[in-house]
Each structure stands twice: as C-alpha cells, then as structure tokens.
C-alpha cells in the first residue's frame, strides 16, 4: 500500500474532529428519535476532496470517538460510516473539484453518495448487526432504511451545497471587471 501523505494524515485527523463535533450537534426533526446527521455531508465532501482512504478513516475514527464518548462503540454502524467514506471516495476519484464543478460532477457526487448510503445502511450495517448482535431482520432493515434515506437527503442537499460553494471559492481572480 502506498504510504499516506502527511496532508492525508492531517485531513483524517481534522476531518474526524469535524465528524465528531457535528455528530454532537443534533438537529431535531419532526420524526422522533431521528436527527439530521450533518457529519455525513462533511465526510462526503472530504472523501471527494481527499480520496477513499481519508474518507474511510474519517468515518471510522470520527464515529468511534463519537460512540465511545456517548454510549460505547456500536461496531456495525461504525464500520458502515467508514464504508460510506470509502465508497464515495472511490466513485468520485480523480474528480478535480479545484478545476471547477459542472453538472456532470455534481451528478457523480450524488450517485456516489446514494450508492454509498444505500449499501452502508441497507446492507453493511444490518448484516453486521445480524452477525454480531443477532437482531431481528425486520427491525434492522426498517432502522437501516430510515437512517439511509435521511442520510441520503442530508448529504444530497448539504453536501452538494458545500461542494458547489467550495468550488466557487477556489476560482481565482480572472476576468472579473468592476461595474459602476
């Protein structure tokens, strides 16, 4: 395996810190016991900017710290979080946001995040839960669907807006003219 660059090491650390802090800020929704998980939007953006390994480790470390400081680690969901970063990172690989963002890239980002969340919460998390905790299938899939859909919406809206805004901030002074 190629060594992680120093920048990647730092991106994982700061990304995980962001994941953690945003995970602690819960935005209530009308549906009881569900919150908007902003951390996945940021994880998705970092995975797109820094690649799959960084995305995966942000999910893994961030979620572990989050669980470990609140009610003890729930490994199946931690692994699912890591999986989300990994998949988004792989699908959006070599998509240079710094060189501008077009509709094609936005679509690709969203395809990536939908696939990632569907697999993570619809397959990875429930399967691990069955394997580890032997919970009933019905409950797991209902739970997974709920989390998956809510995360897809959050990442789709917040993540996309962040990415668009980020791309605009990278554009340098070029053909801009003052207007009277």
């Amino acid at each position: 395996m190629k060594k992680l660059s120093v920048k990647s090491v730092v991106a994982i650390g700061i990304g995980a810190a962001l994941f953690f802090v945003l995970g602690k800020v819960s935005i209530p929704t009308p549906v009881p016991n569900t919150v908007i998980s902003l951390q996945y939007a940021v994880e998705a953006v970092f995975a797109t900017l820094f690649g799959p390994i960084v995305g995966m480790l942000i999910g893994f470390i961030g979620h572990t710290l989050l669980d470990a400081t609140s009610y003890g680690p729930w490994w199946s969901w931690i692994i699912a979080s890591a999986f989300v970063g990994l998949v988004i990172g792989v699908v959006t690989m070599k998509m240079e946001i710094g060189e501008g963002l077009d509709t094609k890239k936005i679509v690709r980002f969203n395809v990536a995040q939908v696939i990632a969340h569907l697999l993570a919460w619809g397959l990875v998390a429930p399967c691990l839960d069955i394997l580890i905790y032997k919970e009933p299938l019905e409950k797991l899939f209902a739970q997974g669907m709920m989390a998956g859909i809510s995360n897809i919406i959050t990442t789709g809206i917040v993540g996309t807006l962040l990415l668009v805004a980020y791309a605009k901030t990278v554009v340098r002074r070029g053909s801009l003219n003052k207007e009277d």
Partner: protein, 571 residues
C-alpha cells in the same frame, strides 16, 4: 569570514498557480550567528523568502525558480524538506496550527520522535529546552490551557530540540497582546545569544521587533529587496514609509518637531536616544505650540448602558465581574486588555449570545434581557475577527443579503437596502464578484456590510486589524472612521495600542474579568500602573516625552495623534 549559512544568488520564484513571479533577483547572504529582520508589507514576498529557506518551497508549494539558493552550502531544492529541517527550525505565525501534540511535552518532543530518538534521551532534551524557554512547569498542559505567548514558547522549544543552525520566525507578533509580544522579542534575543544560531525574523511591526537590536534589516517590496542595511542606516533614510512600513513612533514625533534623524542620535532604540539640549528644546517647543489645540469630545445621548454585569460558565469561576459603563451615540470606543481578560465575553453578552448571571444591559434606556439574539442584532451588530469565519456565501451580493432573506423581507426592498449598503462600504463595483476574489481588507468590508445591512446602531468589532500590515490596517481603520462619521457607534475589541491611540478617544480596560479603567486612550498608555496590570505596553512617545522633560506625557501623546490625523501620512 565564514561562508554564509543561507545564500540567495540571483534567485527568483514563481508559484505554480500564479501568473507572475513573486520573487525577483534576490541576492542575500545570511551568516552563522547573525540576527536579521526581514520587513515588508503583506504581498511583498517576505513570507515567500521564509518558505524558500525552510523548504516549504518547493516541496509543499511547487513552482518555477531561477538562480540559486544555498542552505548550509547545499542547493536547497535538491534534498528534502526533512533534510532542511535539521538546519532550519521554523516557528510559524499560527501557534495553534504549530501546536500538534496533545500536551506541551509531546509537542516539544515531536521532531525528536520523528527522528526516532530513544525515549530517555528525548525526555532529557525536552526538559533542557523547556527550561531554556521557561515552559518547564507546564509540560503536562494541553494547548487550550496556555496563553498565546506560552504557546509560542512551546513552538520555539519544539524547533530547538534539533540543533538547528538557523531559527526562522514567521510573523511572531501577529497573534500576541503587546506585553506578550515584548516578552517574545526578549525571548528570541536570549535564545539567539545562548544557541548562537542565526535568527531570521519576518515581521512588519518594526518598532516592536526593535525592542531588542538586530544586526541588519532587509526591507522588501514587490518581490525585490529594497534595502539591506543596518538598523541605523534604515531608520535615518526614507525607505520605510515609501514601502509601507511604519517607522517607530518616537522617530515620527522627532521629525514632526523638526529634529533631523541621523546616526549621532542613535535612533535604534528609544531608551538609548542621544538627544542634545537643542533637540529636547525643539520637542518641547512643538508640544507647547500644540497643546492648546486639543479639543475634548462632548458626549452625545446615551445609547448603550451596561450595569453590574456578571458572567461565568461555572458559578465558581467568573469570567466577568461587576462591569458597568455607558456608551453614547456616535462614540468610537476601544475595549482593551490581555487575551482572556473577558473582552470577547462582554461582546457576546451584549449581543445576547450568552446570558449574564447578573446585571442588565440597556439600549436607549430599554432593558434588553428579554430580546432574542435576532432582535438584538437589529440594533447591535457583531463582526468576528476573522472574516473567513463569517462569510458563508460564495458571492458578495448573497452574503450581504443573507440576513434580509432570513427575515423575509420582500425582494425589491432587499435590493434597495443591499445596494445602499454596498455603496456605503465601497463594494458596489464588486457586487457580482465572488468573495474569494477579494483581498483580506475587502473581505472585512463584506462582513461589515453583511452586518450593516440590518441597520444596527452599534457595531462591535473583534480585533478588526489583527495580523494586518500598516497599509491594510490603515485601510480598515479609515473605513471604520468613515462609518463612525456617518453616525454609527463603534466598539472595538483590540490589543493594538496604535489603533486605540489613533482612532478611539476612549478606552475601557479589562483585566481578569474586571473593568480596570474607563478613560481616554492616551491616559491609559501613559499610566504605567494600568499598562502593567492590563498586559499592555506603554508607547515610545511616553518614554520620549519623559526624556525631553515634558511634564504631561498624556497631553504630549494626544498632541501627536491630533497632529498625525491632520497632517500625517494616511494610507
């Protein structure tokens, strides 16, 4: 003569992303054990020079170079950033960014850890270095338990664990309060003496660096070296102002009084000035002629009143205690004191971000206790220190419009309001630009515009000029002065003594959560007792007036400011 430890030979550099070179034909030799100040405005290329020396260029920021750079006899870009780090130790401007370890001890040991130094040996080195910079009693502390000055000591210790030949300081004074800044300069001087390493200081705050002497000063502008000479030569010449660097205040005062600045005066340090009786008489004369001009500012109507304000995150530890003062319409006031004295907390209480545990705040006589953050924001605007922490839309127009959109104002009315605000802030020609195309000073204007659009009566600014060179500082402050002239009441949290002296007639001084004084800015800085308790620093004008036998240094300072505003250099 030994060979130079750093040698730029007709060196030029252009960043990959930029259209034009940042450095042109640099010829500069720095010898072992020298102490050199590289001065210049932001954008002058002085930081780029630093990055070339420590290897961030080209290893982290690639680009095109011309000519040669030798560090310790070897071409700098043939090795690696790691090799260079054994020769050059860098203390970055951002002490929080440089503080990587979870505790002081770990952070100091960081470079030794990477060198695979065995633990026992590492611990000895850390202890030794920590003692040298006087941080050895805090080895177990986490970064948030330290002051800015202490963090800088840690950074310094962290580069000293390696036996480096060059110590490079990138804007060491940018984030420090005045007294911590002075201590830092003393510390650098001490380390220079003890280690014998060459010291390079990159800074635009000339007078503050010159608190301890340097061997020579390299003045830069537009990527070129303008001057490379001894302090005396530079101070007696005219180069400084032309290239955006402010000369020491006492020299400006002497010039105003008609004293010629020459070598015989020993102008490097205010304490060592050699003034003849004739010089002193000239200064006294100048002072006598002007002291009548000072007009005291009359008070307008009461606008904001704070009464017996108490606050603490926990009941045992109060961050603010029994604070009372009144702000009048049209005033421009400084809130000063060391970092952590409670200045920012005060602003948060006034804006309603935090709830006081005692006392009240009145606006035009009305108690604000029950007003929400949003309601208060219509009357009191708060501008954060770093514009990048406030700007949340990529486009200028959207950013300024945001608060109005949130409040549900109709589109037509919004347009009118935004246009008007942009005009006031001088941003109208840029209205369809992305924020990222603006300079720091312009971004600051955008954040101020985004607050003004709600038409508050008072604006509170947190450190409006932190880290800015004289040019940007003047630009921002003149803009605020203009706003003040339009009737906005302005409160500024600052530890910049020049700002307080030059722009705000009144200053409220804090220390450890208590209000120490509420008086004129000149009075604060000419009161040694107050200066000490609030971690401020007296100005060199005070020292100069004492040396000239002027009975009232405070009035002397006021004369100076008054004269400067009328006839002095502006931007």
């Amino acid at each position: 003569m030994p060979s130079p430890v750093i040698s730029f030979q007709d060196y030029g550099f252009q960043y990959m992303a930029q259209a034009a070179p940042t450095l042109h034909h640099i010829n500069l030799d720095i010898y072992p054990g020298e102490k050199v100040l590289i001065a210049g405005t932001s954008g002058s290329g002085k930081s780029t020079i630093g990055n070339c020396i420590n290897g961030l260029i080209p290893f982290a920021y690639p680009g095109q170079k011309t000519g040669k750079l030798l560090v310790d006899g070897k071409e700098a870009d043939t090795g690696s950033i790691f090799e260079l780090s054994h020769t050059v130790g860098t203390v970055l401007q951002d002490t929080d960014g440089q503080f990587i370890g979870l505790t002081v001890g770990e952070d100091i040991a960081f470079a030794a850890e990477n060198d695979c130094v065995p633990q026992d040996e590492m611990k000895q080195t850390v202890d030794k270095v920590a003692k040298l910079v006087d941080i050895d009693h805090h080895l177990q502390h986490a970064p948030h338990e330290l002051s800015g000055g202490q963090k800088q000591r840690v950074s310094l210790a962290g580069v000293m664990v390696e036996d480096v030949k060059v110590l490079l300081f990138d804007e060491p004074l940018a984030n420090l309060d005045p007294s911590a800044g002075r201590t830092t300069i003393e510390l650098i001087d001490m380390v220079h003496e003890r280690t014998g390493a060459a010291v390079i200081i990159i800074e635009h705050r000339l007078e503050d660096v010159l608190w301890r002497s340097v061997d020579r000063i390299v003045l830069m502008d537009e990527g070129k070296i303008i001057a490379d000479m001894s302090t005396v030569k530079l101070l007696t010449g005219k180069n400084l102002l032309e290239h955006g660097i402010r000369e020491p205040l006492y020299l400006t005062a002497l010039r105003y009084a008609g004293v010629e600045i020459n070598e015989a005066l020993h102008p490097e340090h205010v304490e060592h000035l050699v003034l003849t009786e004739e010089h002193k008489a000239k200064v006294r004369e100048w002072y006598q002629a002007r002291k009548g001009d000072i007009s005291s500012v009359g008070h307008g109507e009461e606008l904001l009143r704070v009464e017996h304000l108490d606050f603490g995150y926990t009941p045992q530890r109060r961050t603010l205690q029994d604070v009372s003062f009144t702000i009048h319409k049209g005033e421009m006031v400084s809130i000063v004191g060391r970092n952590g004295a409670g200045k920012s907390t005060l602003a948060k209480l006034i804006c309603g971000f935090e709830k006081p545990i005692g006392g009240s705040i009145y606006m035009e006589g009305r108690d604000l206790s029950d007003d929400t953050i949003k309601e208060r924001a219509m009357r009191i605007g708060y501008v954060m220190q770093n514009p990048n922490q406030m700007i949340s839309k990529p486009m200028i127009w959207d950013e300024v419009e945001m608060a109005l959109v949130q409040s549900g104002m109709p589109k037509e009315e919004r347009k009118e309001r935004v246009e008007e605000t942009l005009k006031v802030c001088g941003l109208y020609p840029f209205r369809n630009w992305p924020v990222s195309a603006l300079s720091y000073g312009q971004k600051k204007r955008v954040t101020i515009a985004s607050i003004l659009v709600q038409r508050p009566q008072v604006i509170i600014l947190d450190e409006p000029t932190a880290g800015q060179d004289y040019h940007h500082y003047t630009e921002i402050m003149e803009f605020l002065k203009e706003l003040n002239g339009r009737g906005y009441t302005i409160m500024m949290i600052t530890h910049d003594m020049h700002l307080m002296l030059e722009y705000t007639p009144r200053a409220i001084v804090f220390s450890e959560g208590r209000m120490l004084a509420d008086t004129t800015a000149a009075h604060v800085l000419n009161n040694p007792e107050l200066v000490k308790r609030a971690n401020l620093k007296e100005t060199s004008l005070y020292t100069l007036s004492m040396a000239c036998g002027i009975d009232n240094p405070q009035v002397f300072t006021e004369c100076f400011i008054g004269y400067e505003q009328k006839e002095g250099y502006n931007g």
